[in-house]
């Protein structure tokens, strides 16, 4: 790990003023859900940050996460943060391939043993290691090898964090998440399909500025700054939910008026992410603003959580068939029960002995 702070130099080289940097820090502080008054502290910490070696492993994935993180239109400080890390291996982005690339990875590992950061996107197949390999090395083996000398692992995207789409029922490849395999290293999960790019870079920035310990995570290993509130709680359509105004279809009056999408299957109430405030494509919009219900992609098993277009309150099971069975079964049991009750009644009537006044006066 090179110990020289890099960011101030990079800024100077790119002609970025300190005002620009302060502006970035104010925005980053807002992203990290820290009080705005802490922005100067964030700036100081970032300036002093050193340059860690990063190894990026891509397993069973669609490259959407890499696409998202590299999609910035103009040179920004996020790029610089990204540049401030030494990306020693990323087989999608690097020019070298095959054995040359693997040699680079091994060299980086050896040089920075115990200190490098591993970023993983994609899930790992366990059913057959041959389902996904890089340069003849299975994903499982590469992850185990690389993780051994890592300071920490960042699982980027829902596949790496929770198994994602490859893990969806019936999971033909036996796909699992990083945390299912590696248990002795700190793992930060940054789920999303893909995660919001700024969330990815902000987690990296926070790691650079304040170290691993500063990143508070929830039970699912997600940084609390970005995954502690539901989309529903921060949704600009929330007032419509509270007023009981819902779009019933994608082209009705309610949909045109921008009413709540709960009845169209929105998973906002159970999905933790900052989509509603940070938004996508440089703060332009997010799915609900574009008129589509949230799919819940930052939660485990989002693919199998009862259908994208079924409201959360609606049963996801096979209740209709069971309901019919219940009607038939109930009726049959009822007839049987009634028949038993009748026979009890008639046998009681048969056994009934009339009592005369004489009987009552008899002394027993």
């Amino acid at each position: 790990m090179a110990d020289k702070p890099l960011l101030p130099e990079l800024m100077k080289a790119h002609g970025i003023s300190r005002r620009g940097f302060l502006k970035y820090c104010a925005t980053l502080t807002s992203m990290m859900a820290l009080p705005p008054i802490l922005a100067p502290k964030v700036a100081m910490a970032l300036e002093g940050a050193s340059r860690p070696s990063v190894i990026w492993l891509s397993f069973q994935e669609c490259t959407g996460c890499t696409e998202a993180i590299t999609r910035s239109y103009a040179p920004t400080i996020e790029d610089l943060i990204f540049n401030a890390i030494s990306l020693d291996y990323h087989h999608t982005l690097q020019a070298a391939s095959g054995e040359a690339a693997e040699a680079a990875r091994e060299a980086a590992m050896e040089e920075n043993w115990g200190n490098y950061l591993v970023i993983v996107d994609g899930s790992i197949p366990l059913a057959n290691p041959g389902f996904s390999t890089i340069a003849g090395i299975s994903n499982l083996e590469m992850l185990k090898q690389t993780a051994e000398g890592a300071a920490a692992i960042v699982a980027v995207g829902s596949c790496a964090a929770f198994g994602g789409i490859p893990h969806a029922d019936p999971n033909p490849t036996g796909a699992v998440s990083v945390a299912d395999i590696i248990t002795d290293k700190p793992i930060i999960n940054v789920p999303g399909c893909p995660p919001i790019p700024v969330v990815m870079t902000s987690v990296l920035a926070q790691f650079l500025a304040f170290g691993l310990d500063s990143i508070e995570v929830d039970d699912l290993g997600r940084p609390k700054a970005f995954y502690s509130e539901t989309i529903h709680d921060r949704c600009y359509r929330r007032p419509f939910y509270d007023k009981g105004l819902f779009a019933e279809s994608f082209d009705d009056e309610g949909a045109r008026e921008g009413w709540c999408l709960y009845k169209l299957g929105c998973k906002g109430p159970t999905t933790k992410s900052v989509c509603a405030t940070v938004k996508w494509n440089d703060g332009t919009s997010f799915p609900i603003q574009a008129g589509h219900p949230c799919l819940g992609c930052t939660e485990p098993d989002f693919w199998d959580n009862g259908g994208f277009y079924k409201p959360l309150s609606v049963p996801a099971g096979d209740y209709r068939k069971l309901g019919l069975a219940a009607v038939a079964g109930g009726a049959v049991l009822g007839v049987a029960g009634g028949a038993i009750a009748r026979s009890v009644k008639s046998s009681a009537a048969a056994k009934h002995e009339p009592v005369t006044p004489d009987d009552l006066e008899k002394k027993s």
């Binding site: 502006k23 009080p35 929330r238």
Partner: protein, 132 residues
């Protein structure tokens, strides 16, 4: 879409306005500066409109060009500033209300001034530097 959305209000504008009032009192009493992050609360177009209409336009409007524009405006309520950061494409990065006598971002930064001193010295030292 913009017209359709513009009437949406979350009802958060009034609480923010009261927070601004308390912050302005604190600024005058003890000099404590306050920054309110408008991105940290649900704040829709309707709220923005109410905020703007109560605060009104002020005397100072400044544009900073650093990694995209930053608009710094004093509102009609002196001591209450709006600081809005945009990126190179004009998309909003973050929005703040600052209750202060002078927003920090307007001030010349020491590091920039230090670098500027070097730049000026270099320009003067150049053999072709203009003398009159």
């Amino acid at each position: 879409m913009a017209e359709l959305r513009s009437h949406i209000s979350t009802g958060n504008a009034r609480p923010v306005l009261h927070e601004i009032r308390a912050a302005l009192e604190a600024l005058l009493a003890t000099g404590t500066e306050t920054i309110i992050d408008l991105g940290a609360i649900p704040f829709a177009a309707g709220d923005e409109r109410l905020l703007d209409s109560v605060l009104g336009p002020g005397e100072v409007v400044a544009t900073i060009r650093a990694l995209g524009e930053t608009r710094v405006q004093e509102t009609g309520i002196a001591g209450v500033w709006r600081v809005d950061h945009f990126d190179e494409d004009g998309e909003t990065l973050s929005r703040f209300v600052e209750i202060t006598f002078m927003p920090e971002i307007l001030r010349t930064q020491r590091a920039d001034a230090e670098q500027a001193l070097d730049t000026l010295a270099a320009r003067l030292a150049r053999p072709d530097a203009p003398t009159h």
